[in-house]
């Protein structure tokens, strides 16, 4: 599947709603982008254009902000989001292996890529989640998993995929 096809259909009403609720001066730039990303999982170009048209925020500020902060993504994401903590505690406890095993199970071999080709999952690295004494930690769709070793990461992913009817493209280590 072509990831381009994953571009979201933007609802102008919704964007308008966020702008009215949050504000339209320049200090609203970050929260408006957060609202958009909270809904679509990334920042669709169309939504950004609507913000520029309807607020006092100009395109260079908006894109400047969108590219500066690690939280924002300009590319579409998979249907589910996996965040792997790479904070210090998780790093020293082997966070790298979580990526290896998850990417393996999802069949993502290109290091430039972070989303499975069937659009099921995106694997993202994040800085500390704040549960360091339970390291390594990962989060799938908002649910945190403590003390996950590389192998556990795959097991949790398989379980999640089963419950959400997702097909994993990679080699299934369960078999």
């Amino acid at each position: 599947m072509n990831l381009q096809n994953m571009e979201a259909t933007v609802d102008p009403e919704l964007v308008h709603h966020w702008i009215t609720a949050i504000g339209s001066d320049s200090s609203a730039a970050v929260p408006i982008l957060q609202a958009i990303q909270g809904h679509y999982g990334y920042l669709p170009r169309k939504a950004m254009d609507l913000v520029v048209a309807q607020t006092g925020i100009n395109a260079s500020q908006l894109y400047g902000v969108a590219t500066f902060y690690a939280q924002f993504r300009l590319k579409p994401v998979g249907r589910h989001m996996i965040k792997v903590c790479h904070g210090t505690a998780c790093h020293v406890q082997g966070a790298d292996r979580l990526n290896t095993s998850l990417r393996h199970a999802l069949g993502i071999s290109n290091p430039e890529q972070d989303t499975a080709s069937n659009g099921s999952y995106t694997v993202e690295n994040v800085a500390c989640i704040g549960c360091c004494s339970l390291a390594p930690v990962m989060v799938i769709d908002g649910q945190a998993f403590p003390n996950v070793k590389g192998a556990d990461a795959q097991r949790q992913l398989f379980k999640h995929a089963r419950e959400n009817n997702e097909i994993l493209a990679g080699q299934d280590a369960e078999n």
Binding site: D25, S26, S27, A28, A29, V30, P31, L33, Q34, I57, Q61, G64, V65, F68, Y69, A70, Q71, F72, H86, G87, T88, A89, C90, H91, V92, Q93, G94, D96, R97, T100, S101, R103, H104, V126, A127, C128, I129, G130, C131, C132, S133, L134, A135, V137, G142, A144, F145, P146, K149, G150, A151, Q154, A173
Partner: protein, 593 residues
Amino acid sequence: MSNTQWTITVGEGSCGIAAGAPEVTELLKKRLPDAQFKSVGCVGMCHREVMVETVDDQGRSYLWGNLTKKNLPKVIQFLRGDGVLPKTLLIRSSEEPDCEGGHYLTRQTRIALRNVGQLNPTSMAQYLDRGGYDAIKKIITSGMTPEAVIEEVKIAKIRGRGGAGFPTATKWGFARNAPGDVKYLVCNGDEGDPGAFMDRSLLEGDPHNVLEGMLIAAYAIGASKGYAYIRAEYPLAVQYFGQAIQDAREAGYLGYHILGSDFSFDIKIKEGAGAFVCGEETALMASIQGERGMPRIRPPFPAISGLFGKPTIINNVETLANLPWIIQNGGAAYAAIGTEKSSGTKVFALAGAIARGGLVEVPMGVTIRHVLENIGGGSASTRPLKAVQLGGPSGGCIPERLFDTPIEYEAINATGAIMGSGGMVVMDSKSCMVDLARYFLEFTENESCGKCTFCRIGTLRMKEILTRICAGEGTMEDIDLLEDLGRSVQSASLCGLGQTAANPVLTTIKYFRDEYIAHVQEKRCPGGVCKGLITHTILNDKCSGCSICERYCPVNAITGTLKHPDTWVIDPKICINCGMCAEVCNPDAILAA
């Protein structure tokens, strides 16, 4: 079956929830329908999550840990009066408070954390029950002037807990005396240091206390508006703090004419967006204003010209959390704790190779060893501890032989590390100090906002050199070059990010030069971490032939016949040294060296 009335308290901070508190609660509620339930934040013993405290009608209490759906029935049986005491799950009881498990809590002095894990963070009533908002009431009803509040904080001698340790009262004085009718008070809840979670626990576990701290600070400097800048990775903190603001507003503690006085103050939450540099004051303000979080040159200092050009004070969450106690108990009581130059207590987040990881609050002046050994319980494995990383990317590594250093700003600085915000990541012999330095440089290089050349290019070059050394391609000159570059970046950067970026490198070279030399000269990683310098081999005499390593190897480098230990091998040409096999191998038959 007895009909004891139990009050059951469940730790439901982020860590408790992650460990499975919701399903434990559900099961308890089902099996003990008559019990009273209470939800609290994390008491700090994160290593024992899920944690539950049960108290009976006669005041007998039991604190349970490591609960799961599987072992819970044993506890339930005991609570229902039939069944033996499941000792392995018990941390302490009222009969035996000073047991090994109890030491963790009894050896602490809790001021900032005094309510964390004791009350439901979403219940304002419980905060009020524990003397909440009494400090701001005292200030307003006794007619304390802002100057008197600043004086009390000056007597307390508290220094900012955000890392730099600047005296809080002095900073406030600048803003108090700055001209302008609109002033801002900002709570810095960015907590960007990876490996630190003190601020999360405070915001999440006792939000009203932080909020009351903001009120006190705002009153002292004359601020009418406030922002709480909380990182987006802490959704529960954002939610609970938002709830606290709403409840406080409804109760008259926030908004116009607080408690009928002339003091008006209100707070908005701004969520961070994942930029470490935004913890720096001037970058944080740019971020609130909707710009890229780029630091700017000081002066003008924020206290004179800050947010939207107005006088602004930015205080760390933990600094604020100490204020209600200081006003209630007096500055002198606070100054009596800790040492002459570093008063009060400090909260640390213990993680890594430590037996009892979690949150600890200790009086300043105790030694690092006391925290790690007496409270943290020492190493989590049989391997001895080697070092502790203090202060995150701005900090440094303190080797075991300096563990008797007292926890005091100046004494810690003298080692080359910094107190920082309180993250303590503990290391044993299975960690590599060169890899750790590389890790931090990758972090700072990533997080550098790019405004100053030394920080942008210098950190990149340092990372490249460290990556080379970790890959076994370093030279002895590289080590000298790292020190040189480190000093240049330190002196020529605009903000604290660049000024401190070299600390992890400089301290690891200072204390662990032998590990650098092993990487460069012997092409060996003593910790068994650096992928380019280790190979994985199967120790056939230990192997059981179970094939689990084969199943988890992501590159199919492992082959062998089921139940024939002597047949198992790893093909070094295919192996990527990811370490998955060693991790899953039960008999410990895989060697990484």
